[in-house]
């Protein structure tokens, strides 16, 4: 919403500088986003009079213009089609900086030395009009500054409005907030409308078929109008509101809309086609051409103004081409109406149009200001367009809208805001906003219909707060509510996962949660997918059903940026459609991904990362959260290579998956290196986590370390060997570690050699060599029996 600063001053009588107006309004809820000086491009631009025009030899389009600006006389080159001798024009002098980054310098064109330029409105930054030079009033005095001549010592104030404040979409509405803020009284324009004897009702009648869509429709007729350009003062008000002047009729309807917030529409009565306005829903597939020349096929979502037969305007959105005001228009049918905001919203969405008028109607204009607005416009039509205003308004108001009455308790207001404002101050604020008040405690407040956002007491409390200023509300310095925070394990869990995994050298990634259904199908065609009905693009058309989708996308992104070595994790959610019983499932998960080499150093060569790097990270988590032993069960999936593909469990609890991404799947993600991924489920992990462990006394007796070197079949699992050792030796085997693993040339085919270090220790005594020998002996016997193990000779 753009408003002229001077117009606000004119209405309020204030003399505040523009910055103060902006700040006070911003701090009361009408945010001023921008202050644009109208005179920005007018420095060194003066009034000049064209006294001579000469053809330039060899040039058709440009002429040499001689211009006087008071005492000075200049020869300028001018290419405008409308330049003529005797005109008063804006002349930009040497050094002027105009809109569009034009700086005036001395130039020589076709042998003519030119220092200065006659300007168009666009070059002066006043409008988009560049069809010719701007022609000033004939009474303008050459040599005076154009700023003074055009009263352009003004600013466009650009406000960003909140959606609940339709009243701010007019100068009067914004001035009303200033009235309350500054304690002044708005000077509402006084005018006297002189009507002719002929009655409006004799020429037009109004019928409303859809009273829900159109609770009020008022019409006036102005006869004998002359279509012409508007006077400068009117144009300037429009320019300062960012609206381009067109002709007096259109400009006047726009001016009154800016002033009152009520959009108006002018029809050419001769083209209207009947003496009856009928407001109805459009019929399905009814054709209608809006005045921008677009043909629309309508639906009943569109409210249509008709002449009883054919459409003449899409109500509240845009007029029709068939009844548009033209240069030869003589009689005007003027409409001022109140349309249902929800219906206008639907209608303009259906039509795909947003106009100054639809924006206002859809927020809610003041239905009870319609007679004032239509009279105000009629007054200008007579004053400016020279028309004759017919007698009376034809006003159809089948569903009157009445002001809301609210009971307001000043003490309640203070108890919500935490303030100690007096009841009188509150009254002052509310009256400043033109609310009527009777009674004292509670106050009975009548809310005018230009404030449809005020429905209940709390809305009035907000009015008090915003006009008094939020700065007037103190900042409490005591903490209220609970003084401690219950720690939820789930929050700590995620934080701790982060510290364990970053400590293990993993970088955290973050997915946005959306995914490409084609990729999800590649990964797992059988897994259900939650489809987005209105996706922003076809590659983000589902919610991800696995964190692996994100992980592979991130691996691909980094590979394409030549970052090939990575250890990644994400804590995030997977989403699924509702099951048969209508239960929606979202699952918090952790993904762990390794690909490429370890970082390596001058001491350790980089080596390819694999399954065991992931396993170590999971072991670190298991250590941290005291998870019971994790077991690996082979599974068949579409996305893991069948050689390395496991379901992870802890006891009976399913905690996730781990494996090597199958090559064909990796290829589909444009990944040409091995990727290992684990996806863990957070909820089961939380159930198996232990927060505290009970202290174990430190050992008193010495440990007895022994090594074992075995040769077994390659398919014997080391885990089973370790388990057997632990089972055989019992708790005396304090730790069992694998320090060597070998298969290859030095050993028979189909065999592998394993070096195992066992530490024996008893909590009760020092173990003797014989006791340890015994244990070792038992272990070896068991290993031989169960795994056919040989003790390897050195």
């Amino acid at each position: 919403m753009k408003v002229s600063y001077k117009w606000l001053l004119e209405l309020t009588g204030l003399d505040w500088p523009v910055e103060k107006v902006a700040e006070r309004l911003t701090l009361s809820g009408t945010a001023c986003e921008e202050i644009i000086p109208l005179s920005k491009y007018l420095d060194k631009v003066v009034v000049g009079e064209v006294i001579d025009l000469q053809k330039i030899e060899g040039a058709d389009k440009i002429k040499k213009a001689t211009v006087v600006t008071g005492r000075e006389k200049y020869d300028l080159v001018c290419g405008a089609p409308n330049v003529a001798v005797g005109q008063k024009v804006p002349v930009a002098l040497l050094g002027a900086r105009l809109a569009g980054d034009i700086t005036i310098k001395k130039v020589k064109i076709r042998g003519v030395e030119s220092i200065g330029m006659i300007c168009s409105e666009r070059e002066l930054g006043l409008s988009d009009d560049h069809s010719g030079i701007m022609v000033l009033d004939g009474k303008a005095v050459p040599g005076t500054s154009v700023i003074d001549e055009l009263d352009l010592d003004d600013y466009i104030m650009n406000f960003e409005l909140t959606p609940n404040r339709p009243d701010s979409m007019s100068v009067t509405g914004i001035a009303r907030d200033l009235q309350a803020l500054a304690g002044v009284k708005i000077r509402k324009p006084v005018f006297e409308l002189k009507e002719a004897d002929r009655k409006t009702a004799a020429y037009i009648k109004v019928d409303i078929e859809d009273a829900v869509g159109c609770p009020r429709y008022a019409a006036r007729i102005i006869d004998g109008i002359t279509i012409a350009g508007s006077p400068w003062w009117l144009k300037k008000k429009l320019i300062a509101a960012g609206i381009r002047p067109i002709c007096n009729v259109v400009d006047i309807t726009n001016l009154v809309m800016l002033e009152t917030g009520n959009p108006l529409h002018a029809f050419d009565l001769k083209l209207f086609g009947s003496d009856r306005v009928l407001v109805r829903k459009a019929r399905d597939k009814e054709k209608f051409v809006t005045l921008d020349g677009e043909e629309h096929e309508l639906s009943p979502d569109v409210l249509l103004i008709t002449n009883g037969n054919t459409g003449v305007a899409a109500a509240g959105v845009m007029g029709g081409l068939n009844s548009e005001v033209k240069t030869d228009t003589h009689t005007i049918l003027l409409e001022a109406a109140y349309f249902n905001p929800r219906i206008i919203r639907k209608s303009r969405k259906y039509l795909g149009l947003v106009t100054e008028s639809s924006t206002r109607f859809e927020k809610g204009v003041d239905p009870n200001n319609i007679p004032y607005a239509i009279d105000r416009a009629a007054y200008y039509f007579k004053e400016i367009g020279g028309g004759e205003v017919l007698n009376g308004i034809v006003d159809c108001y089948p569903q009157p809208i009445f002001p809301v009455k609210i009971s307001f308790r000043p003490d309640r207001c203070n108890s919500i805001l935490g303030t100690a404002l007096s009841s009188d101050r509150m009254k002052e604020i509310l009256s400043g906003l033109d609310f009527e008040i009777t009674g004292s405690n509670p106050l009975n407040v009548t809310v005018p219909t230009f404030r449809p956002d005020i429905e209940q007491e709390i809305d009035l409390i907000e009015e008090i707060a915003r006009i008094e200023g939020y700065a007037a509300i103190p900042d409490t310095e005591v903490n209220i509510g609970p003084l401690y925070t219950p720690v939820h394990f789930v929050d700590r869990f995620e934080d701790e996962v982060r510290s364990v995994l970053t400590g293990s050298g993993f970088d955290e990634i973050l997915g946005h949660g959306l995914a490409d259904s084609r990729q999800a199908k590649i990964l797992n065609p059988d897994l259900s997918r939650l489809r987005i009905i209105n996706p922003v693009s076809e590659d983000l058309d589902i919610m991800r059903n696995s964190l692996i989708l994100t992980a592979l996308t991130v691996v691909n992104h980094n590979l394409s940026h030549r970052l090939i070595d990575m250890r990644l994790f994400e804590i995030g959610r997977a989403y699924f459609p509702p099951d048969k019983d209508g239960n929606w499932l979202e699952e918090d998960r952790i993904s762990l991904t390794v690909s490429g080499n370890t970082s390596g150093s001058w001491r350790e060569k980089p080596r390819p990362q694999d399954f065991y790097d992931l396993k170590r990270a999971i072991e670190n988590l298991a250590l941290h959260f005291h998870w019971p032993e994790i077991t690996f069960q082979e599974i068949k999936t579409n996305f893991f290579d069948e050689s390395i593909s496991y379901k992870l469990s802890s006891g009976p609890t399913d905690i996730g998956l781990i494996g090597k991404i199958a090559e064909p799947v990796a290829k589909k993600f444009d990944i040409k290196q091995e990727v290992y991924i684990a996806e863990l489920k957070i909820n089961p992990l939380i159930t198996i986590s232990r927060e505290a462990v009970i202290f174990e006394p430190l050992p008193v007796y010495p440990a007895a370390p022994r090594d074992l070197a075995l040769v077994v079949d390659v398919n014997v699992k080391v885990g089973d060997i370790i388990k057997l050792i632990q089972k055989t030796a019992g708790p005396t085997a304090e730790s069992v570690n694998v320090f060597d693993l070998y298969s290859g040339e030095q050993i028979r085919k189909g065999k592998k050699s394993i070096g195992i270090a066992i530490t024996y220790r008893s909590p009760e005594k020092s173990l003797t060599g014989d006791e340890v020998d015994n244990l070792q002996g038992n272990i070896m016997a068991e290993l031989k029996k169960l795994f056919n193990a040989e003790i390897r000779e050195k």
Partner: protein, 337 residues
């Protein structure tokens, strides 16, 4: 004495002597004494062949291990006299070895910092579903049926009649329904908007919302809590500005600006030369929302606030493209180690 005991004795003796060695030369002599070709431990290993098979294996394993252990000890002891002290060829400028640390994603780090700041003033965390119902995302929060936010242009809808939550505020009615006052909660998490991805907008972003409902909660309490948060989070010297705003679920509503932490309010590129940064939205919970949740709005009042984590992170770290936060380029991620 069995051979096994002999090994143990040799090992103990060797360790004692290693400890007593006072020069590298002495140490080398000791190493020859025990582990040399004619050394004492080597001698035991040589006798293994003469033992019966069973004994050979146990003694062999033990002797081999002792041999290895002693070698390690000799190496360690040698370091005491070696090279490092006083020698010029040691190079401290070589990079350290071992794995480097990973990094927490900047959005999660900032979100965690925000949460922990609120934990300090007694807020606890609650979460909710990302795939929400219209009921909790809009209706309970006093959004009128035709509110623009309900448009297809702004909200993602999924099959099955639900939508992707557009804010974390639906957790507010969900928790209020479950609990009794006082309720003092923050709701961090993911949210979604149907927007074309650009430098300034993404389909997903993170929010931390919070609210307090109890008897006698005032707007002054809201201001106090947010002043405390902003000072704790951004720095104690900053100023705050509360501007009236509009949200369907709060009334009165406010937008909070903080004085720019980069230029201290003087004006710079970050704050677009205004000296202020818009940082969060807040207000008193609308009585209709409290009533929707079954609370007597005459008895109970409450405040609510919310902020965008990406926005805070982007301001704090001067990140100029929101897409960087979701691309997960390692060069980007590792800047925030």
């Amino acid at each position: 004495m069995s051979l096994l005991d002999e090994v143990t004795r040799l090992e103990t003796e060797a360790l004692r002597e290693i400890k007593g060695a006072d020069s590298l030369e002495a140490l080398n002599e000791l190493q020859i004494k025990y582990l040399g070709r004619k050394g004492l431990v080597t001698a035991v290993l040589k006798t293994l062949g003469t033992l019966p098979v069973d004994e050979r294996k146990t003694v062999g394993a033990q002797a081999n291990r002792a041999h290895q252990d002693l070698e390690n000890h000799f190496q360690l002891a040698a370091q005491k006299f070696s090279t490092t002290r006083g020698k010029k060829d040691f190079d401290p400028t070589l990079p350290g070895t071992g794995p480097r640390t990973g990094t927490i994603h900047i959005v999660n780090r900032v979100m965690g910092e925000i949460c922990h700041t609120f934990y300090g003033i007694g807020f606890e965390t609650a979460r909710g579903p990302h795939v929400e119902t219209d009921h909790y995302n809009f209706e309970m929060l006093n959004f009128p049926p035709d509110h623009p936010a309900r448009d297809m242009q702004d909200t993602f809808f999924v099959e099955g009649g639900r939508l992707l939550r557009t804010h974390t505020t639906p957790v507010q009615p969900r928790e209020l329904e479950k609990r009794k006052p006082p309720v003092k909660i923050i709701t961090p998490g993911k949210t979604f908007r149907n927007e074309e991805i650009s430098t300034r907008a993404h389909v997903s972003f993170h929010q931390v919302d919070g609210f307090l409902v109890d008897e006698g909660v005032t707007m002054a309490d809201l201001k106090g809590a947010l002043v405390a948060f902003c000072k704790a989070f951004f720095g104690s010297g900053l100023k705050l500005k509360f501007r009236p705003s509009f949200f369907p679920f709060t009334e009165p509503s406010a937008e909070v600006d903080i004085s720019c932490f980069l230029c201290n309010g003087v004006g710079c590129q970050l704050c677009k030369y205004s000296g202020w940064l818009e940082i969060l939205g807040c207000g008193m919970i609308h009585p209709k929302v409290l009533e929707n949740c079954g609370y007597d709005s005459e008895k109970y009042t409450g405040y609510a606030f919310g902020m965008g984590v990406e926005r805070v992170a982007m301001l704090k770290y001067k990140i100029n493209d929101i897409r960087l936060l979701f691309n997960n380029n390692l060069r980007f991620l590792r800047q925030f180690a």
